[in-house]
């Protein structure tokens, strides 16, 4: 069974939803939709009138059960080339060139089991949300902890949905790095090794870890987990690159 070749196709923006001040979800309708796996991404390509092209990757936020469409959640990077185009220019009904779904390493499905530690920084939560949504849709109860670093409460993408999904073996632990509301009892610093140690101790032995977000955060997590004795082949990473 030869795989279908990965080709560019023209998607239509069928919905846009604000998630936070800086992040929005874009629903794309795909003429050649293919089933995806939680954690995979699409490549997006913009072409200017003079032929100049810019290409970026965006993780799929929606679970595999949503057929015909994918949701991408994109954070607006000021001065960025591609993300501001989504936020400032694209409207419902507009067309955008994409290819996907892409990737087979940074993916999770219930059969892979756990216990699952998901570590996100900023928009790095997007592919992990696809995993959490799939887990919920499948009625799966794999013990799962999401450790999610954001600047402040209002920067937490999917906050209400995560609140609603918590329970049934899912713990959501935000850590707020810049500001936190009065009476905040959660973590309030960048992810570090002691934090990882605490979270792992509560989760149980032999965790399967997915870490995603700015490269520096992912480096910290990967190095911390090695020090804590988690075998490297139980840790999968997706670096988004630098952050300011």
């Amino acid at each position: 069974m030869p795989p279908e070749p990965l080709v560019w196709q023209i998607a239509t923006v069928s919905a846009i939803r604000g998630e936070t001040e800086r992040a929005s979800s874009f629903t794309l309708s795909l003429p050649a939709w293919r089933p995806h796996r939680a954690g995979q991404h699409y490549d997006v390509r913009l072409t200017a009138a003079d032929g100049y092209q810019a290409q970026r990757s965006y993780s799929i936020a929606s679970p595999p059960a949503h057929t015909g469409v994918v949701d991408l959640t994109i954070e607006r990077i000021p001065d960025g080339e591609v993300s501001p185009y989504f936020h400032d220019v694209l409207e419902v009904g507009d067309l955008v060139e994409v290819r996907g779904p892409i990737g087979g390493y940074f993916v999770w499905e219930p059969a892979l089991g756990g216990p699952l530690l998901l570590v996100a920084g900023g928009s790095g939560v997007v592919p992990l949300m696809a995993m959490i949504r799939q887990r919920a849709a499948a009625g799966d109860t794999t013990p799962t902890t999401l450790l999610y670093s954001a600047r402040d409460v209002d920067d937490l993408i999917y906050r209400d949905e995560l609140d609603a999904l918590a329970g049934d073996g899912l713990r959501v632990l935000p850590t707020l790095t810049r500001a936190h509301p009065p009476g905040w009892t959660g973590y309030a610093r960048r992810v570090d090794e002691p934090m990882l140690a605490e979270v792992l101790a509560a989760l149980g032995p032999d965790p399967l870890v997915y870490a995603c977000g700015p490269t520096l955060l992912v480096e910290t997590v990967a190095a911390g987990l090695v020090n804590l004795g988690v075998p490297p082949d139980r840790v999968r990473t997706e670096r988004f690159g630098p952050s300011n």
């Binding site: 795989p3 796996r37 991404h41 996907g100 990737g103 940074f106 499905e109 082949d233 990473t237 630098p242």
Partner: protein, 99 residues
């Protein structure tokens, strides 16, 4: 060896799939420099050169590199002793180094 702009091979998984005509990040490879065996998805990606360079996460040497020419892609995989199939049925190559 690795800096802030480092990505994972997953960031260029689309290009890899076009070059090799299969999903490559779950494929297991052996680094010809240090002997590390791991999924291609563990390699670090550098995309700022004219081409793309994938380096071993253990020793930092180049395992796979490619450039696009007017006629298509040209891949140098001499940094890999071998590239194999994902281990077992688990499509995401869980524990690629386990026998």
């Amino acid at each position: 060896m690795f800096d802030e702009s480092t990505l994972d091979a997953n960031a260029v998984a689309g290009e890899l799939e076009v070059l090799f005509a299969v999903e490559m990040t779950a494929v297991v490879g052996k680094c010809a420099h240090c002997g590390n065996e791991a999924a291609v998805g563990t390699l670090r990606a550098y995309v700022n050169a004219p081409g793309v360079v994938l380096r071993c996460s253990i020793c930092g040497e180049v395992v796979i590199a490619w450039a696009w020419t007017p006629t298509g892609g040209r891949v140098d995989r001499s940094g890999a002793s071998w590239l194999g199939q994902p281990s077992g049925a688990a499509p995401s190559a869980a524990a690629p180094s386990e026998a």
